[in-house]
């Protein structure tokens, strides 16, 4: 989101002879075919996402204390975890009537644990845990299909729209003295429906998915979700990141096509990179789709500072 390296003067655009395929002495198409198609990271991610949500369901069904609660607040092996935006709303309302001091130690443990996780791992929660993300990925595929068939037009918005929602929902909470966002939060609704049985509120999820299919690609995740925005805000200096290597990039921009937040991959455009290596910013959900698609392995998962230690 806020990236200081973007403001620097760009490096000189690569000559044709400097492209990775030219170095290998083959054409771009031949070079592209040398890399086998892989969905390694996507499959791993889907596995983790489904496993986490299954663990919630199994814990309730069988009465095990593995992962109790739901995604708005839970207890993993007796250790509390608290959704940060949810907690923030409760804090915002309660600070004015003194209830703030009644919140339990477990609440604070949960809040600061998730805060620490987001500081270390950035917005990873979105693509590796959030059940709505998975549904939205399928909706995205349908949307792309319809756009390709010229049945619908693409509608995109400014990514800062999220902060209008982020502040807006906090203000609504403050003035109505109710955490209204939780009533329409797809994460909470899907999570509770999976664990405690389906709710009428699922109709809202269908409406949202239909809107994303027919009108605006990934609308909720990109432009609205305050939960994702919270993770992005706190994950400014996250250690887990995607590392970009300019030398290996052929500027095909296929990675931007699959990305949820293409603005975070601004440096893959020809003549835009300001450094030999770049890291994705806090909006990046570390989903790994770009890593899978990259023909030259120019994009890779990395933990900042680890290469120095190892």
């Amino acid at each position: 989101m806020f990236n200081s390296s973007k403001k620097k003067t760009p490096l000189k655009a690569k000559e044709k002879g400097e492209m990775p395929y030219a170095k290998a002495g083959i054409s771009f198409k031949e070079w592209r075919d040398t890399k086998p198609k892989t969905n390694k990271w996507r499959n791993l991610r889907w596995g983790v996402l489904i496993a986490v949500n299954l663990l919630f369901m199994v814990s309730y069904l069988l009465g095990l204390s593995l992962l109790e609660g739901s995604l708005s607040g839970s207890r993993a092996f007796g250790f509390y975890l608290m959704d940060t935006y949810n907690a923030l709303q409760v804090m915002t309302i309660s600070i004015f009537d003194g209830y703030f001091w009644a919140l339990t130690m477990n609440f604070w443990i949960g809040f600061f644990t998730i805060l620490t996780l987001s500081i270390l791992g950035g917005r990873t929660y979105c693509s590796w845990v959030c059940p709505y993300h998975l549904l939205a990925e399928f909706a995205e595929k349908l949307h792309d299909y319809f756009v390709k068939k010229k049945k619908i037009k693409e509608h995109s918005y400014n990514i800062y729209l999220r902060f209008v929602f982020w502040i807006g929902f906090l203000l609504i909470a403050l003035f109505t003295k109710n955490i209204v966002f939780e009533d329409i939060n797809p994460i909470g609704i899907i999570s509770r429906s999976l664990i405690y049985g389906p709710s009428i509120a699922l109709l809202w999820i269908f409406a949202l998915l239909l809107f994303e299919i027919a009108y605006s690609k990934r609308f909720w995740c990109r432009y609205a979700c305050p939960v994702g925005a919270t993770w992005a805000i706190t994950g400014q200096a996250a250690l887990l990141d995607i590392k970009f290597d300019l030398d290996k990039c052929a500027h095909c921009r296929d990675c931007q096509d699959v990305c949820l937040v293409p603005h975070e991959l601004w440096f893959v455009q020809k003549g835009k990179a300001t450094q030999e290596t770049h890291f994705t910013g806090s909006d990046c959900t570390r989903c790994g789709l770009c890593v899978d698609v990259c023909y030259g392995d120019a994009l890779k998962f990395t933990v900042k500072g680890m290469d120095k230690i190892l």
């Binding site: 839970s74 339990t104 003295k177 955490i179 509770r192 509120a201």
Partner: protein, 278 residues
């Protein structure tokens, strides 16, 4: 050209932000209006009670984060999360006592202890437990090895639960009509379980497996987990009939409502209307 694009995208942002803000204002105003009309004090209904230790409804509906930890920990599955059509705030916990009452067979108040935002507030229970132990140690030896202080504390803790208070419907109550009851109160398909005070196993059992045979129906009295401090059979001085009488000690647990054999329950739990209660 770049300048023009920038101007364009800024205008687009302002437009979409305006729409978003208007939508949010509408939503906030709508919820605010709804709250004003159906204020929190009306959302506690006779059938849908809040779990033990619930704080005042106004704070409850915002401080409850709808995680469902209280639902998970309840061994008799009495607590459920409200759906949109229940007339309660979406996702908040409630107990439908007619379907499954809170029978205290957990012998602790784990739903209260597990709540991270203290909307089920453990503080008064902790105090009551401490008091009870102090009193007990004056007459008994509480330092004796093998003595479990919790067994003393829990009795005091249970007795200060106040989810509501039972109220008998004189029109339909079998005892008021002078009738007895013979059979299974809620039929063989009923799912509810509870621990009867007369239970030999000391474990909750399905209500559908129990049959009763009473000259005058007194199930609400004999099955009450609190006992004679909460409800007794007494002779009405006017009619001379033996009828159930609810006393101060009633916690509103709802076991009487669950076991009531009439088609529509003849005893209900009226939620406590005061600002704050435990």
């Amino acid at each position: 050209m770049a300048q023009h694009n920038k101007e364009n995208s800024r205008r687009q942002f302002i437009k979409s932000a305006g729409i978003a803000a208007a939508g949010l204002a509408l939503l906030g105003g709508g919820v605010g209006y709804y709250n004003k009309v159906n204020g929190p004090k009306f959302t506690r209904q006779p059938r849908f009670l809040r779990p033990p230790g619930a704080i005042d409804e106004e704070t409850f509906i915002y401080a409850c984060i709808k995680c469902g930890l209280c639902v998970q920990i309840c061994p008799v599955e009495a607590i459920k999360l409200a759906d949109l059509n229940k007339g309660l705030d979406y996702g908040t916990p409630y107990i439908d006592v007619r379907e499954q009452a809170c029978d205290f067979s957990c012998d602790s108040l784990q739903c209260v202890e597990t709540c991270p935002t203290a909307v089920l507030d453990f503080t008064p229970f902790e105090l009551a437990g401490g008091e009870a132990l102090k009193e007990y140690s004056q007459t008994h030896d509480a330092t004796k090895p093998g003595f479990n202080p919790f067994s003393v504390q829990i009795i005091a803790m249970k007795s200060i639960v106040k989810m509501g208070i039972a109220k008998v419907n004189k029109e339909t109550c079998l005892a008021h009509k002078g009738e007895g009851f013979n059979g299974t109160p809620r039929g063989n398909d009923f799912d509810g379980i509870y621990r009867s005070p007369n239970s030999k196993t000391g474990k909750p059992a399905p209500l559908s497996e129990t049959t009763f045979d009473r000259e005058i129906c007194d199930l609400c009295v004999t099955e009450c987990p609190i006992g004679e401090k909460a409800i007794v059979m007494s002779v009405d001085s006017e009619t001379g009939k033996t009828i159930p009488q609810v006393l101060e000690g009633c916690t509103g647990c709802g076991v009487c409502v669950m076991v009531c054999p009439t088609q529509k329950e003849s005893i209900i739990i009226e939620p406590i209307k005061e600002e704050s209660h435990v």
